[in-house]
Structures are given as structure tokens and as C-alpha cells.
Symmetry: C2
């Protein structure tokens, strides 16, 4: 059987998963493909550590460029991560017309335009299925399966660390800090967890999904990002009482020619599909104008699920090479138009507001008067019996309202003498 040479850059957790996948399923992949994928070179700065897989020492090197330039390497798999040398490696491979498969979301979010342009210029392939959703073939679904649709919206649970923490907070009524410590102990959260819990990892993925849905690239700065660090178990409990769960969502929505991209904790109905996604799992709900709601669910991280998608991309790239169809599909749709972005104050959604109000006559009417002046109408209100120093928590669920009006209303409300703490505001989706 004809062989095709793979070069692997980055021999970390996912890299080891790719090696294991090729060892376990290489024959199956070969029979599906009609050619045999052979891992010819692996580059990593550390070529001594045990990764739990056995590879011939002769294919290991610390010189990534040598791997890229090796004529025996037909396809380059970039799993170095980050936006430093990884960028040079990817561009170097593409410049030689060698297809690249990568899982590097930060790289694509920050430098996608340059990288996609190079792939187009050289008419070669850049595949990045594993950059969003780990083992879930969501990039493929957007780029190919739903390609006849105008994408109306995408709602994604894209970070397993956050979803694990939020699931635990709800199930056990535990505070955020304790859940984070537990997630770190179990290996679900990094020692330096900011990238995950402050929403940036989700934002990287949101930018990639938006590019796939609408063409063009989006600067990270255009994304509104709010993480889960400030969340209180109290609000998660109240949300549950109201039939909702709190999820860190990436929301991408197109309306009237403008696209909003935002990442923040959101209330989703408990009995919805997104509300059913618990623990480290990820899911993406895509609404297309023809297909309506479709949802994609699975493990968003981990060596083997991510390697599954990396290797699925490798199969695609090899098929393109074999059939002389490199750059058969552009990395992102080449619409030509830049995405028109909707600024955050202009968005419209529903809100969960928790206020800590003095328990005396006239207070509620003062609050509802302010909300009304800002065209914020209430779907429900819930006064909790948990008085503290003559104050009670009151939860309002609004109908759709404009973010700018909610900002203004909350500013007025926070300044009232009868309001004890900073108001809590969460957005409701779906």
C-alpha cells in the first residue's frame, strides 16, 4: 500500500494521543483511505520524557524546522500550541505547499487571517477541526454539513473546565473557589486557570466559529468576554429554582446584517439540550435558516478525543492530496466582506437580575419604575425569604431588553439608598 508521511510538531498530551491513534487504528485508517499514513518524524523540545507510547527513537528530534522541511513529510501536524513558534512553523509548512493540521485555537484566533491567506496563496490545506470542541466534529459540520444554510446563531458550551465547575456548583451548592480547587485536584483545571475560567479560551473558539459561519476574521478585541469567576452559588441555586442552569456560553448571533459575539455565563432552560450538558462535556447548538436547530455534543478536550479530530482532518488532507484536490474547500468561506459586528450595548436578550433590597413598602415599585423607564419589562419576579439585616434578595427575570438600557437601569438602581449590594446581572439564552 502506498505510504504518506506525517510529521508531528509537539509531543505533548494530544501528540501522544495522535501517536496512539495511529498505532491502534492505523490499519483501519489505511483501509478506509487506500493509503497508509506513516508517522515519519516527531519534533519536541523534550524528547526524553515518557509519554506512555513507544516510538522509534530515530524519528524524534528537537528541530521542528527539519521535520517541516523533510521531503518524507507530506503532512504537518502542529500541536505545539500558543502563538509564538507555532505560527512560524505553520507558515513555513504552508509556504512549501505542505498541508497543515492544527488544534491551535489561540493561533487561529490571533493570526487566522495571515495563515488562511498563505494557505490560499499556496493552494494548500489548513485543517483545524480540533481547535474547537475537541472530539466533536463541529468545524466540519459548519464548514460542510450546513454549508447551504445561512447561520442565524450559534450557542456553544466550549470549555470543559468551566462546565465541570458549574455542574459541581449546581449539584453540590458549593462555592466557586472550592469547585475550582477540586477541578484542579482532579486535573480538569490548570494551576493557572485564567485562560479557561475567565472565558478567553471560549472566546478564541467563538472567533473561529464566527469565521466559519460568516467568512472573514474577527479580532479577539471585538468579543465581549465575561468569565465565571464572579459567579455565586446563590444565583446558580436561584436559577435552578426557576428551571434554569448556568452555563458559560459563547453566543454568536446574526441579525439585520450585524453579528454579535459574546462569551458570558448564561441561564439556559434545564430541560433544553444545552441545559442537559453536564460535567466536562461540550456542546454547540447551531441554528441554520434551513435546518433549524442542530446540536453537536461530546468531549471538548482530552488526548484521545482531540486526536480523533486531528486524525479525521489528516484523513481529509490525505484524500485531497491523493485526488489532486488540495485546497478543495477554503479554510473559511471566502465571502470577501468583513463581518459587521454589533457592539455589546446594542444587543438584545433576556436578563436575570438579583437585587438586594431593603424590606420596606415602596421599594419594589421604585425598582420596577426604573426598569419600565428603560423599556425593561418583567417576565417574573421572585422575592426570596432570606432576610439579612432587613434586606431581601429579589430576582427579576426580564423579557428581551437592550443591554445599554439594562446597563443604565442597573446604574440607577445601584445608586438607590434602598439597594444594599452591587446588583447581579446574568443573561438568559434560549
Amino acid at each position: 500500500m502506498k505510504e504518506i508521511g506525517l510529521g508531528l510538531l509537539g509531543f505533548g498530551t494530544v501528540g501522544a494521543g495522535v501517536v496512539r491513534g495511529l498505532q491502534d487504528n492505523g490499519a483501519l485508517i489505511g483501509s478506509r483511505l487506500g493509503v497508509k499514513p506513516v508517522l515519519r518524524r516527531i519534533a519536541d523540545l523534550d524528547i526524553a520524557s515518557d509519554r506512555g507510547v513507544t516510538v522509534d527513537a530515530s524519528i524524534l528530534t528537537t528541530d521542528a524546522q527539519a521535520v517541516i522541511d523533510d521531503p518524507a513529510v507530506d503532512v504537518v501536524i502542529e500541536l505545539v500550541g500558543g502563538t509564538g513558534v507555532a505560527k512560524d512553523f505553520v507558515l513555513r509548512a504552508l509556504a512549501q505547499g505542505k498541508p497543515v493540521v492544527t488544534a491551535n485555537k489561540a493561533l487561529l484566533a490571533d493570526h487566522g487571517a495571515e495563515i488562511f491567506a498563505m494557505a490560499r496563496e499556496k493552494q494548500t490545506d489548513i485543517y483545524f477541526g480540533a481547535s474547537v470542541g475537541g472530539g466533536i466534529p463541529i468545524v466540519r459540520a459548519l464548514r460542510e454539513g450546513l454549508s447551504a444554510n445561512r447561520i442565524e446563531s450559534i450557542h456553544g458550551i466550549l470549555n470543559g473546565t468551566c462546565n465541570y465547575i458549574l455542574t459541581e456548583m449546581e449539584r453540590n451548592g458549593v462555592a466557586f473557589d472550592d469547585c475550582l480547587a477540586d477541578a484542579q485536584a482532579k486535573g480538569y483545571a490548570e494551576a493557572e486557570p485564567s485562560l479557561d475560567i475567565d472565558g478567553f479560551d471560549t472566546a478564541h473558539k467563538a472567533v473561529i466559529l464566527a469565521s466559519l459561519a460568516y467568512g472573514g476574521t474577527v479580532p479577539m478585541e471585538a468579543v465581549f468576554v465575561e468569565g465565571i469567576r464572579g459567579l455565586s452559588a446563590l444565583d446558580i441555586g436561584y436559577a435552578r429554582d426557576l428551571g434554569y442552569r448556568v452555563k458559560l456560553l459563547a453566543v454568536i448571533r446574526s441579525e439585520a446584517g450585524a453579528v454579535e459575539i459574546r462569551v458570558h455565563p448564561s441561564l439556559v432552560p434545564m430541560d433544553s439540550m444545552l441545559g442537559s450538558v453536564s460535567g466536562v462535556f461540550n456542546a454547540v447548538l447551531v441554528n441554520g435558516d434551513m435546518t433549524g436547530d442542530t446540536l453537536y455534543y461530546g468531549r471538548g478536550a482530552g488526548a484521545d478525543p482531540t486526536a480523533s479530530t486531528v486524525l479525521g482532518d489528516v484523513l481529509d488532507v490525505v484524500r485531497n492530496l491523493e485526488s489532486g484536490a488540495a485546497h478543495r474547500i477554503p479554510a473559511i468561506p471566502e465571502s470577501g466582506d468583513a463581518i459587521q459586528l454589533r457592539p455589546m450595548p446594542e444587543i438584545t436578550t433576556r436578563y436575570y437580575l438579583r437585587l438586594c433590597l431593603k424590606d420596606e413598602p415602596g421599594v419594589l415599585s421604585m425598582i420596577t419604575h426604573i426598569l419600565g423607564r428603560h423599556q425593561i419589562s418583567l417576565a417574573s419576579a421572585l422575592q426570596k425569604e432570606a432576610p439579612e439585616d432587613n434586606h431581601v434578595p429579589v430576582v427579576f427575570m426580564t423579557h428581551a431588553a437592550k443591554e445599554a438600557e439594562v446597563n443604565a437601569a442597573l446604574e440607577e438602581i445601584a445608586a438607590l439608598e434602598c439597594v444594599a449590594r452591587e446588583p447581579v446581572r446574568l443573561r438568559i439564552e434560549g
Copy 2:
């Protein structure tokens, strides 16, 4: 922009959806594709009825063969349905090397081997994404996204009519016949509902999914099929009390080199992803050895969702034509080996058993003794307080047991003097 000619066979509901999709999103599709898809001919026996879309009368014909043979038609879309003339049309197009996009599950389930062989011989494409799951890109996920995986199992809710009926039966405690009548009144079920409710539609789809997962084709006769007609609202209620919902599932499972393919009502945990799929929606849970569980959810039928997938396939086919990469991916994996099937008596799963027992000492021990003799151990038992003529319903949930043993045990049990009616047996999955 270069044009590519489409010929549509069958101008029914989905056909009209395809026309509408091309009219609404044709420009978008063209910009994504770099070529403009143009609907050149439509064939149907009825070219007079109003389908709610406007087409130039000159492209309508009653002569399907003329459409297939028209040199201006580059891609044939077969939406005639059934296994009669549709088979001739598909083979005629493929024989000319023209790629075919079809949504015809019955055709592929019954004649897939012949059709796939013709596509291979002529090195042209047969795409059938819309044959399973309507608007859900599940065929693509199996054929491409998960192609590095060994597929361990597939559990699919593949028939919206059945899922609607089962959802209503559970929510409202209504009998099957009433729910069916309601579904028929709402247009969710056919006047002749057997294909749906007796499980054959689901079985057609199961056969296609098995072919995609394991290569080769499977005769319909090899599939164990049990529909939902005999289901009682009582069992749905008991299942709910135990934390389960009843779904008509296609189960495809590979173990020790043999594959089981079965369609029957199944208990799935209420808080699982499959348990969350309600109403007319479909979902497919795929377990791959690398990716673990992934799930795909959406509308399994309807004009626009199905047309979304048909047009997604058309885009793929056109990309293959444009890049000279026809037959880039075989219709199903060409493993060469026939699928080894596991006969139904050999399967192992968990069971829900409801017996109607005489309310007197010693009866339970007689039952559990018989179960024990057949290596059927109990996870839980639940005696309900609903005595009728000195009989009580008792529900047993078993651990994993062998179907043949359960058959034998139930035969013995049914023959006991203390057992009033035919025992009810449902299988538990997940």
C-alpha cells in the same frame, strides 16, 4: 461565475424545499462554492400542482430519464423515493458518470450494494446524507469526522413520528392509539403509519449507519425490528417513575468482532442526552474508541431540514467535480469484509420486565428463582399498588443478561399459574 447544472427528480415536499433553498441561499452557496448551482430541470409525474415555490414552467417535465440524460445536468438529485423507478434513475445517472445526491433510505437499505458498486465502477459520487437524520449531518460525521475511530456503538432516535408519539404518551399519560390519532391530525404521522411506528423506517436508517460504521452492506432481514405499537402508557409511566424515558432506538453495537443491529423501544435515562430528545427531534449517539460519546441532534424530517442536507451534499459533489476529485471518498468504507452479525438471542443488555402477579406469599420467590436459573440478576424490583382481581403489577430492572435467557425465563414465567397476563419486556440502554 461558472455555472453547474442540477437536475431534480421528484418535486414533492423535500423537492420544493430544495428549490426554495436554492432560491433563498443560491447566492450564498455560490459565493461559498466559487461556482453557481443552477437548477436546470425538474421531473415529476405531477407538474401541475402548486408547491408553494415558483419555477419556470419550461424546466418542468414528466420525463425523468430526459433530465438524467440532459447534458446540461451535471448533478442528479433523486427525491422520488421508494425502491421502484428511483433505483433505475439512480443507476442510470451513475452509469453515465453523473454524481447523484439522494435522500432515499429504503433504496439504499435494499439496493445499496448494487448502487455503491456502480458508483465505484464509474468512479463517481453517490451522496446520501439526507437518508438518515434529515437536517443532522450525521452521515458526514460518521464518514469523515470520526473516520479515525473504531465505532463501538451507535444509538439513534431516528424517527420523529415515533418520538413525538412517545413524548406525548409520557407527558400526558395518553394511550398509544390516541397519540397516533393526534399525530396524524397534526401531520406528524401518515394515514398509513406502519413504516414509522412499526420500526421499519428506523431499521432502514440503522442499516445505512451500520454500513457507514463497518463497511459492507447489511440485509434488512438481519435487523431485529420491534415497533412502538404495543407500548402501554402504564409502562411509560413506570419507566418515568424509575428515572427513564422510553424511546424507539436503533442500536448498533460491535463487540468481539460481531455487530448487532436492532430496533426496539428502549428505556434511556431521563437525564441523559438521548433522554432529553423530545417531540419530533432526532438524535444519534455515536461511541468511537478515540472520541468517546458524541451526539448529533436536530430535525430528522421536514422539507427545509432535509433540503439543507441534500444541498450540503450537492456542494460537496460540486467541489469534487470542480477539483477533479470525483469519488474522493467511497460511499461506504471499502473494508472488503462482510459485517459479521450477532443474532438477536446472543445479545446482552439490561431489561425492564413487568409481570402481573397473584398477590400471595411465595410468588415473588418463584419468579426470582426462575430468573436466577437463567443468570438474570436484578438491579431493582418495584411492586406497584394497583391491585386488580388480587393481582399486582411488579416491575423488575435487571442487570445485563442474555436475550436468549430472558426469552426462556419469560416463557417459563408466562406459563405459571400465578402470572395473569403476557409479561412485558423492554430493553434498557445507556
